[in-house]
């Protein structure tokens, strides 16, 4: 069937900000969809609040609304744009939920909008547990049996039906609190009675336990002619009980016979048909009993997902792209396979390699939370690795994680003691894979490890082989003794040069040299969808150690872009966005672009983004191997955040041409002494600072420059380990923690400018002139990590003189450092004086936000500058112009995922993503940014206000404003006293430790709509901690800084005054800044 002509304009809903469980895979899928629909001649309208996405680049859609992905705002877009159809399946759960809400509210009917891709009944049947279980019953498939219990008697009756053990899950408790597995009636009674008491609705789910069963996923596509294909099967290394997003997964499935596989295939297609997903991709999850092969269906998602992004990257079959085509009427046989170009997309990829995905967690950011992996996802990112064998792929994945490890242990960083060894082996955690490896090092058998972990013996056997390979290297005793066969054996078992070096106590460089001397060279093979049955025309490669290399020759000049690796807190989609723009810009300039990255969620690892894609870890070894195969004219290291940056020196030393800003300039900016000397020379102020290697030295510095102090390890990402110290006692405690965090680096101490306004600047310098991309005024004061604070373009409270000073400093610094490309500078403004806090001559987290706010694609401009173009040659709009709108970026916090961790903001970054709000005034833009994160902005009710002494004066106008807006103000004793003195009516409420009913009771009972609670110091179990965690748990809007409180109150006022209008990026006056 050809494309549909009866629809003309299609609305695509994006997934909004990056949150845990919903990351940039939806930018990958959404961007593909927008491109396809636009290419097919449809008018594309997009709503997505996330400015750091490629899909919100103005050229990807005809009408781009960076607005909250909520029914209210999307309804406004529908009213304004009148689309014919809505494609809801490419924006994750957020997009799907929003579409369902719009359909249920009658908005789609009212404006005649057709849901394409998945119809409402199909979405509902896929999402509703009961409807889904009924549907499975109709087609003869099992689901885990069970039901809801409201009493112990109910539970006993249900267990009578399903048998022990059962999983007990209380409804609506955070993080599965109160749940557990009951193996007998005593445990059942205990857990159920406790669970019912904890559940706010007095309900627990009793479900047959499939813990320890094997878990599989199937990625299915179906078209309007009922053609259906399985794109990829995925087998989880972690058995049932761990969320698939938190599991190590492997493609293709390894331990199913064809009979069992085909049963699963039949079931997947039957499910898709029964649920009624007419076109597009779906993901079906199964559990298989390892003892008898019994199959149960766990769930299906009638949309593209994280797994479909993984499956696309794992096979070369672009699910989202094809899903968009199918949604507008094409059938699979009408679409051609991008990689072979000769064969149709209506087939099932066959792969002749093994793919391993490993999640990336960030528990170190959320102390106090339980790190056990459960059915609730906690990872913040993932890596994918491709190898010929599982061994090779797992080894590569483990060194891709950007966690300082060189592989599956054996890198000198294994710190595994005897204490609770078996318990740690049995408990699924981030560390368990290391315990499994260690178990084999200690001579444990596959059977023993299986008994404790239930990880399939096939996987365990392969890991055992990896450890044997590692031991074989060590047994050679010296590097010289390692011959070519032994070296090849080690490499084929996934060992990195660094691991081999550690086994033989030599330097990594020596291993590399010896390896190349032995002639053990890596080879590159293509990801071609068809196991080499047909020639591949799209160069998408992975590295392995085999006989034949497939890298195609080329005469064009090549530019290589090193990506950002796995998403983690402090390094997210923003850097991928920059890398993608670098690829586009360098391609426009005639380079053949080469992308290197290992993150399957990203747009950068779409084989369409660059001319050549290498799916590889971003380690020196792996990058050098690619460089030697490709010999690029230049390598971009400054766009992918810290990951490629930390390779800059080693690459330059190896003679690799680095594009743009020299690594020396980056060093200069990092070297505090030299940089301060430069600032002194330029006459630019900076906070007093010092460096210390011991506590005594730190104390000397502290006494010299005075408290409060900003203290941090010298080389940090996302403010890791950074704190504000107000006292010597705290400083002492911190130093002992921090030095263990980073033993090789000293501790840096800066005078903390309390109450200062923080300002960020992103600029591009070509060595001759500087273009200021944007000046961002932070909402939260200095001391809150810039990644966690909201900011606004243009500055909303700074004087023109101050802004001019800031810009002048930025220009001076960029030129003085010899920057060629991007530079980010952080300033603090205190009492109208401007201080430089930090300079980073590289892409920053805010580059995409600045680009969206101003319409100037800064990363593209910078990439062209790095390739030799001059700013003067580009027709950029005046960087001093008034953009005529306010754009607010707000950070999205994941506290809800980590019950027990404090929600207070500080110098250590904790946010996972960001949203942008755009409006004609600051309060409205800020209001949109809050609504985009689903923070409700209450317009009436009770506001609880409790602040530390430092903030007592500044809270008065905020409370007065709240009162004027009609809120009842609640306060604890201290704050109430201040407010009463200021003549503000206030209702007293007890602190938690003062008795009951107290403020926490009021919050639990839903009586409080807004919480303003500013902390002081670092007491983690203070009263404020209980208030904030209760707010997170019960979804009460919770503000922890005065500036944010001021902004929120203004936003509430804006919201009360009238509706917030939606506006498309293409409607901005200067929207066509074309580079």
């Amino acid at each position: 069937m050809p494309r549909r002509d009866d629809i003309r304009k299609i609305l695509v809903i994006g997934a909004g900000p990056i949150i845990i469980g919903q990351a940039c895979e939806f930018d990958y899928s959404g961007s593909q969809a927008c491109k396809v629909l636009k290419d097919e001649g449809y008018e594309v309208v997009l709503v997505n609040s996330n400015p750091a996405t490629i899909m919100t680049d103005p050229e990807l859609a005809h009408r781009t609304y960076v607005e909250p992905v909520t029914p209210q705002f999307v309804a406004q877009v529908i009213e304004k744009e009148r689309p014919d159809a809505l494609l809801p399946t490419l924006g994750g759960q957020t997009g799907l939920n929003c579409a369902v809400a719009l359909a249920d509210a009658g908005v789609l009917d009212e404006f005649g909008v057709e849901l394409i891709g998945a119809k409402l009944p199909a979405i509902k049947m896929g999402e509703d547990r009961k409807l889904f279980a009924e549907a499975m019953g109709r087609i003869g498939l099992d689901v885990p049996r069970g039901g809801y219990a409201y009493s112990v008697a109910d539970a006993e009756r249900l267990v009578g039906e399903v048998g022990y053990p059962v999983v007990v899950r209380p409804s609506f408790t955070l993080g599965g609190a109160g749940g557990g597995i009951a193996y007998n009636i005593d445990e059942l009674r205990d857990i159920v009675s406790g669970g019912i008491a904890l559940s706010p609705v007095g309900e627990v789910l009793i479900e047959q336990s499939v813990l320890g069963w094997k878990e599989f996923e199937m990625e299915v596509m179906r078209d309007a002619k009922d053609n259906a294909v399985i794109v990829c099967s995925i087998e989880n290394l972690d058995p049932m009980g761990v969320h698939t997003g938190d599991s190590i997964t492997v493609a293709p499935a390894q331990t199913l016979t064809d009979r069992e596989y085909q049963v699963m295939r039949d079931a997947s297609i039957a499910i898709m048909r029964e649920i009624g997903v007419e076109t597009g991709g779906s993901n079906v999850q199964f559990a298989v009993n390892p003892d008898d092969g019994r199959l149960v269906v766990i769930e299906m998602n009638p949309r593209v997902s994280r797994s479909s992004a993984l499956a696309s990257k794992a096979t070369g079959f672009p699910i989202a792209k094809f899903a968009a085509k199918l949604a507008v009427g094409y059938t699979l046989d009408e679409i051609s396979n991008d990689i072979t170009r000769q064969t149709p997309a209506c087939f099932e990829p066959s792969i002749d390699y093994t793919v391993v995905k490993v999640p990336r967690w960030a528990f170190e950011k959320f102390r106090g939370t339980d790190e056990t992996l459960t059915t609730r996802m906690k990872s913040v990112g993932e890596v994918m690795a491709i190898g010929r064998t599982f061994e090779e792929a797992l080894g590569k994945a483990m060194r891709s994680l950007e966690n300082g490890r060189a592989g599956l242990g054996a890198d000198g960083k294994d710190a595994i003691g005897e204490h609770k060894f078996d318990e740690n082996l049995a408990t699924p955690t981030e560390q368990r894979i290391f315990y499994i490896a260690e178990a084999f090092r200690r001579g444990r058998t596959v059977d023993e490890v299986f008994a404790l972990t239930h990880v399939d013996p096939w996987f365990l056997g392969r890991i055992e082989a990896m450890i044997a390979a590692e031991k074989a290297v060590a047994e050679e005793g010296s590097l010289d003794a390692l011959d070519a066969a032994a070296m090849r054996h080690a490499k084929q078992h996934g060992l990195s040069d660094a691991q081999i070096a550690h086994q033989l106590d030599v330097a990594q460089e020596d291993v590399r040299r010896h390896r190349l001397d032995l002639g053990v060279r890596s080879t590159f093979k293509a990801v071609d969808t068809c196991a080499a049955e047909f020639a591949a025309l799209t160069p998408y490669y992975y590295k392995t150690y085999e006989e034949e290399d497939e890298v195609a020759a080329s005469d064009r000049p090549k530019a290589m872009i090193l990506g950002a690796g796995p998403n983690r807190i402090g390094q997210g989609i923003e850097f991928d966005y920059c890398c993608v723009h670098a690829a586009y810009a360098l391609s426009d300039m005639g380079f053949e672009t080469i992308m290197v990255n290992c993150n399957p969620e990203t747009v950068s690892t779409d084989y369409d983004t660059s001319d050549r894609l290498y799916f590889e870890p971003l380690t020196f070894e792996d990058v050098m191997d690619i460089i030697e195969a490709e010999r690029p004219e230049g390598v971009v290291v400054t766009f992918g955040g810290q990951t490629p940056l930390k390779l800059a020196h080693a690459l330059e030393d190896a003679g690799v041409p680095i594009m743009g800003t020299r690594p020396e300039a980056i060093d200069l900016a990092e070297d505090r002494k030299r940089f301060q000397a430069l600032l002194d020379e330029l006459g630019i102020a900076y906070p007093a600072a010092g460096t210390a290697f011991t506590y005594e030295e730190a104390l000397d510095v502290a006494r010299r420059i005075g408290f409060p102090l900003l203290v941090r390890p010298s080389y940090v990402l996302g403010g890791r380990g950074m704190v504000i110290a107000y006292s010597e006692e705290y400083l002492e405690r911190y130093i002992h923690e921090a030095t263990s965090v980073s033993p090789d680096h000293p501790v840096l101490l800066d005078r903390f400018l309390e109450g200062a306004i923080e300002v960020d600047v992103d600029a591009v310098c070509d060595g001759e002139s500087v273009y200021i991309g944007g000046v961002m005024e932070h909402i939260e004061e200095a001391g809150i990590h810039s990644g966690d604070s909201a900011c606004c373009i243009p500055p909303f409270s700074l004087g023109d003189d101050t802004v001019e000073t800031i810009k002048a400093y930025a220009r001076t610094l960029a030129l003085a450092l010899g920057v060629q490309g991007l530079i980010n500078i952080q300033f603090a403004v205190k009492d109208a004086a401007v201080f430089v806090l930090e300079v980073n001559p590289r892409a920053s987290r805010t580059v995409p936000f600045v680009s969206k706010a101003t319409g100037v694609p800064l990363a593209k401009v910078a990439a062209q500058v790095m390739a030799g173009r001059k700013l003067a040659e580009m027709e950029l709009p005046d960087d001093g112009r008034d953009i005529g709108r306010f754009c607010v970026k707000e950070a999205v916090m994941p506290f809800g995922r980590f019950p027990g961790s404090d929600s207070v903001l500080g110098p250590e970054m904790k946010s996972t993503g960001e949203v942008m709000g755009v409006a004609g005034d600051f309060p409205s833009a800020y209001a949109k940014s809050q609504l985009a994160i689903d923070y409700s902005l209450p317009t009436s009710g009770k506001a609880f206000v409790s602040v530390c002494d430092r903030d007592k004066r500044s809270i008065v106008p905020v409370a007065r404003h709240l009162h004027a807006l009609g809120f009842e103000v609640l306060s604890t004793r201290g704050t109430a006293k201040t407010l009463k003195a200021a003549g503000i009516p206030v209702t007293g409420v007890l602190k938690k430790h003062e008795g009951r009913p107290n403020i926490v009771d009021a919050m639990v009972n839903g009586e409080v709509q807004l919480v303003i609670n500013t902390p002081f110091g670092q007491e983690t179990r203070s009263d404020g901690y209980h208030i904030r965690t209760a707010a997170v748990q019960h979804g009460v809007t919770n503000i922890t800084t005065i500036p944010a409180a001021q902004a929120v109150v203004q936003a509430i006022e804006a919201l009360k005054e009238g509706r917030l209008e939606v506006v498309a990026l293409q409607d901005f006056d200067d929207a066509d800044a074309d580079v």
């Binding site: 016979t257 039949d266 390892p290 008898d292 046989d333 002749d352 010929r388 056997g461 196991a531």
Partner: protein, 427 residues
Amino acid sequence: MSRDTAMLVLEDGTAFEGTACGAMGEATGEVVFNTSLSGYQEVLTDPSYAGQIITMTMPHIGNYGVNGVDMESGRIHARGLVVRQMCDTPSNWRSEQDLPSFLREQDVVAIEGVDTRRLTRHIREAGAMRAVISTTDTDVASLTGKARSAPGLAGRDLVREVAVAQPYTWGEDVPGEGLPVDTGVLVAEPGFKVVAMDSGIKYNILRRLSEIGCEVLVVPPTTSAEEVLSHQPTGVFLANGPGDPAAVDYLYTTLRELVGKVPLFGICLGHQMLSLAVGCATYKLKYGHRGGNQPVMNLLTGQVEITSQNHGFCVDYASIGELVPEASGGMSADPGDLGAWVEAGVAPVVSSMDFGRVQLTHVNLNDMTVEGIRLLDHPAFSVQYHPEAAPGPHDSRYLFGAFARLMNGADDYLSVAREPGGSRAAS
């Protein structure tokens, strides 16, 4: 596992060094590749692989071991196996034996540690060729000579080597092999009596035929038409099998006497037999179709089936005769230009010398080759691929239902929407 060196050498001198992972010794055959991700046991025991050395492109082989149920015949028929990595510690609840020991037990030579992707690309570019696997000789020149002196497949009748010598009824003992472990569903009161001309029939074809209510009498390929008809069958089934179809002249000659007298259904070699019987030429594909992911369009419904395939020879549809435009949607395109017919969504019809009109029903969308035909003036149809799967997807199971409808006299027996997954198609 032993670490004995093994060599794989092709007739053009291309050599691969690896490690023995099956029986010791030496074996020659035509080296081919199979892209199935699962199902190595079914592949190895498929009689159609007689005379061939199989390369599995899936790098991990042996993961789930071997069991007594997933047999497609009584033994391994392939001459040798080439893999990237062999697993001798399988994990699966049905596993009874590890693959290397099964190979040794069956005296089949196998090699692991081979860059199977390099080998596959080489076969893709240079074509399927003769090769030798050896654990006893490591001299490339000597092995090249052995590969060159091995018989090729062209012109070679391997059917006699794999077919039964005595008739038997499915569900009873197979002569010389005993009872197959898994006979599938045996219908108590079969509605059809089918004679299967054995040319290397896979057990799963027999299971599928049983499932649709056939009592199946398996007879040797040399059985005369007269004798076949003497059983008064409701239908005759033409099986898959190894080697060059053109060399199996006795079978398709017999077939010429059966067409029109009894409903016929052929699979793979059986399809080639029917085609040859109606005057069609066959030719050898450069490297064949072997895998479980081949897209085939049923031109009568426009739907695509993901199919299981294993064939090195193919039929040349245009060689049957002149196009019959009025039966071909009024189109007058070249009957050999299969892509044009797929694009138009029309099943062309040509007229054969002796058996009336022949319709092209199924086409491979990867390379636009013939995958199925039916006779319009006689009750007979056949497909090149394997609707019985094992290994592979079940999308095409509906063809067994089509055979049942044909035996019941339906005209539109093939024009049924196939149901992906095949869960309801067979009934």
